[in-house]
Symmetry: C2
Subunit: 340 residues, 2 copies
DNA sequence: TTGTAAGCGTTATCAC
DNA sequence: GTGATAACGCTTACAA
């Protein structure tokens, strides 16, 4: 059924080794033999089978990318940039949506291992490295993205989330805000924790505390909307809310507007990530930009370095971030004068 | 370096065939031999190599999914649902972002073919089937999603886009709108074409024509924003704009609001797809809901059917859609009274 | 119940 | 320049 190297040899009236030489452009082959072989290859649409090559020890040119979920924009963009970067250099990518489940992560690791991958890029929701240690045991090079995986790999490509929180806090403080609420979801992931601590650290250095911090376990607009309402119920005097993601911030905008607080006149709102939806909403969202696609591409570079044996064997890349000031934040003085 | 079946046999003091029997749970093995083998497998963390199994004719349990791009929400959600459905039944998925380029599509096909896949799910931006015919020649079962690929496969899972356009038109007509503009982007894809023709057919059956149709080649908010401005420059008297995607509709909302036309009081706006961002914007967007995740899951079912040999060998699945009326559309009478 | 051996598609070694 | 042949990890007759 399948056409292999021997069928080509047979058709071209030569031996498998000569065909192999032609296919791999290695060793000497006479012009006419090469011609006959190429004709046969064309005719039978022959193509060497990667799996058999690996039996002989060649790299699989296959990598695994394990991400929490492809259907949230952040990981969609990240996964896309990783996949495209690998494609450019002839690598195939198994993208795996682990859906936050350690059991799924473990199953994926099994599947990937039995496919013989050359390397892996991982972002796991929990800091739990357990499902991945088998990859490490099999000496598969691993790069962490978006969040470090201590104990698993020392190579991580991400941004300084703590600093991002600080920048946001200082932006709001500079606008005169003193009563600031925070919505953090999903609660347990490292970037979110860092953002909250960057925020609170900056406030404290000004002798302030967040008026309220609401934690949620879900990323969804709906769940963040409820958190925002709880926050506003208890602390109606806040003049600004920061969401640890653009989604959380957008949810806060909805909650505020639905209860008649105008944004930014009465309430300033800021987010994090600068996803496309940040500029979809009206007023457009002030947020921290992070170079998602660049993160993916850098992670691929790092993995390539590890796979080719030359370093770096340990490195933490923190890519630059910056604030994007848009229309959702304004001076607090205005708020007071229009306050509810 | 790598641990294979013979190393296990050696360690357990038995033969490779017996190990194979244990691994595949086929044939008889005595309890004690099995025990020794399982111990060895555990100790050496052995796992059969999928590529070698395929040499012996077993299915690869690998499928290819070729989509225009993972970083746009629609395909992110679709790709995610497909990947998850395959994961559930033990299949690995190569997700390939073809980025609208036939050259990339062809390269992907080559790569996939040399990995020996069991089947493929494809959505190609252009109707160009050329890059994929090799898959067909190699008898790889193919299912089209979101848009049909005539000549390549007769199996397609999608929605009735024409009907969606009709529903939208009738919704607006029912609200008294008579001057309706359309923004269509990206212009050449089948679903977009269908949506426009559904819209115009419905208008014509009421003796009307669209006031203006603006076509764009890019999906982006930015480019659609410019289209919307062109439309409003030329036909400031429209009372409603339909975007053939939620992004196009959101861009229209921005353009309208930026020139002081309030939505929906002065201008009604409707979109298509019901992506998350449709409920992010304020006012929340009236749009046509389509069951994206369900489309992915159904496509997987169809492909499974084809791979297992029992039908269907030709079938077009049109999944149900419905309109989601939100706040961005209102009665046209209100518009006239507040008109510019 | 277990072992031997052939063969899947490929490449590398070595002889011609 | 070219062609046998062994080996990679695995499954499956077939023999014992």
């Amino acid at each position: 059924m399948t056409v292999g190297i021997r069928k080509i040899a047979q058709m071209a009236g030569t031996s498998v080794s000569t065909v192999s030489r032609v296919v791999n452009k290695s060793g000497y082959v006479s012009a006419e033999t090469r011609q006959r072989i190429e004709t046969a290859i064309e005719a039978l649409d022959y193509r060497p089978y990667a799996g058999a090559r690996m039996l002989r020890g060649s790299p699989s040119k296959v990598v695994g990318v394990l991400l929490p979920s492809l259907d949230v924009p952040f990981f969609g963009i990240l996964g896309h940039s990783i996949e495209q970067a690998f494609f450019k250099i002839g690598y195939q990518t198994f993208i795996c949506s682990t859906a936050e489940s350690p059991a799924k992560e473990a199953t994926y690791v099994e599947m990937l291992l039995s496919q013989k991958l050359d390397g892996a890029i991982i972002a796991s929701s929990r800091q739990n490295i357990e499902p991945f240690i088998k990859l490490k045991e099999h000496n598969i090079p691993i790069v962490a993205v978006d969040r470090p995986m201590p104990g698993l790999t020392d190579v991580c490509v991400h941004v300084d989330n703590h600093k991002g929180g600080t920048i946001l806090a200082e932006h709001l403080l500079g606008l005169g805000h003193r009563k600031i609420g925070i919505i953090c979801a999903p609660r347990h992931t490292e970037p979110m924790i860092q953002r909250v601590s960057g925020l609170t650290d900056a406030l404290r250095s000004h002798g302030l505390e967040p008026s309220d911090i609401r934690y949620g376990s879900e990323h969804s607009l709906h769940s963040c909307y409820r958190l925002a309402n709880m926050l506003l119920d208890r602390h109606g005097d806040v003049t600004a809310i920061v969401g640890t993601s653009d989604t959380a911030a957008i949810a806060a905008m909805h909650a505020a507007i639905d209860r008649g607080m105008s944004v930014p006149a009465r309430l300033s709102v800021a987010g994090f990530d600068d996803l496309p939806e940040a500029s979809y909403v009206l007023p457009r969202l002030t947020t921290i930009y992070q170079p998602i696609a660049k993160i993916g591409e850098t992670a691929v570079q790092r993995l390539l370095g590890m796979m080719s044996g030359d370093g770096p064997f340990a490195s933490e890349d923190k890519l630059p971030i910056r604030i994007r000031v848009r229309e959702s934040t304004a001076h607090a003085a205005i708020c007071e004068s229009q306050g509810t």
